[in-house]
Amino acid sequence: MGKYVVIISSLFVKPCRQRREMPLSAVSGEHPSYGKKDVLKQIHDAIRETTMPSWFGLVPRNFGDISAGTIKADEWHSLITVYIPIALISLWGGPSSKATLKSILDHTMDLVSAVYVSCARTMTLEHATAYRSYIASYVGSLRRIHPTSNVRPNHHASFYVYNYLVLFGPVHSWWTFPFERLIGILQHLPTNHKFGELNLVRN
């Protein structure tokens, strides 16, 4: 048993000594931190107090709570184009904000700007190029600013929205909102909940 311990120790003594010479933890500065509840409160205040025209899509006033339910795409659009940016800028956009919070804000605004540019009803080469720049900046900085986050397939796929904007024009020509509406109509049609049955015409 002791011999086994010696052998194990000898295996690791030299590696341990030399491992110590390598960085033990990442040298990217302090982790960003903010009060999540304070930020959510600011967003709730924005949702409650911002005066909007009647056509603008509503969002759950208790956004962030489990009880708010599933957030749909048009609600995410309302959140990311209006409430999230004005809440975050009001919190972290001032001259006295900490650098880390300002960088989180700027990074989020890359995504906000990408959404604005991509949803324009008229597309130009400048818009499409601006979109791709914002997405590259957003995806490229994601791990640096938020080290514990992951990149996902949608991050890669989002680059190709640039191609689609150039090839097929504004998103309104090729997005799935109208098809989702079709599904909504179908879901409200009366059915007998039996799949694939049909009474065929007989003579």
């Binding site: 025209p53 209006v82 009001s90 604005y116 009803r121 049609l189």
Partner: protein, 206 residues
């Protein structure tokens, strides 16, 4: 499910045909009204319509004095709402959100759109509807120190919480869009244009 849907779709197609029988067309109007289908018609009758006489009649006391400089007829029509291109505009005393508009001053599209509040919706001398708008006062900072104006593709800006007393006549075609408004303090509000057509061609911040 497919058959039900296809029947409904084909019915809609029939009702939309220009060679549809007149009686059927009348039914379609009723159907659209019942199911709240919006149109572009600016002459939709507003149930809150008011008829106001100018000052030289017995009902003169109801005429808002600040509107007199725009109206030179003996009678005019004030509305609480107006629907144009499928969007509803309202006067600020009825619905603040629908009264918040971005517009080109004097209709000059070379200028930057500015925010204002619709105080009156009235029928002008030429019979067309127009808005009497109060400007949102600028902060006088020329955008300096405005954290909301730091992002070129995010159309937000700080303005004074106070609206001007002076009214400006704004034609419907000068209106760009509505805007969202959030009071971040007693003196300042953030105005975010809800324009769907992006006219911003400045370089993005990289």
């Amino acid at each position: 499910m497919l058959c039900s849907y296809l029947k409904g779709a084909k019915l809609r197609a029939w009702l939309s045909r220009p060679d549809c029988p007149q009686a059927v067309k009348e039914c379609k109007v009723l159907l659209d009204q019942a199911y709240g289908v919006n149109g572009d018609d600016t002459t939709v009758i507003d149930p809150l319509e008011e008829y106001v006489r100018p000052l030289d009649t017995a009902r003169a006391t109801n005429m808002p004095p600040d509107l007199r400089e725009f109206v030179h007829l003996r009678r005019t029509v004030l509305r609480a709402h107006l629907r144009h291109a499928g969007v509803v505009f309202s006067r600020s005393s009825t619905n603040v959100g629908n009264s918040q508009i971005m517009f080109y001053p004097s209709g000059d599209q070379s200028l930057r759109a500015v925010p204002g509040l619709i105080k009156y919706i009235f029928e002008g001398d030429d019979g067309s509807m127009a808005f009497a708008v109060q400007w949102r006062e600028a902060l006088g900072r020329n955008g300096e120190g405005d954290p909301f104006a730091a992002y070129p593709h995010f159309p937000a800006k700080l303005y004074s919480a106070r609206a001007s007393e002076k009214l400006e006549k704004v034609k419907i075609l000068w209106v760009v869009s509505h805007y969202a408004c959030w009071a971040i303090s007693e003196e300042e509000v953030v105005v975010l244009s809800l324009c769907r057509v992006s006219s911003c061609i400045s370089k993005p911040r990289l």
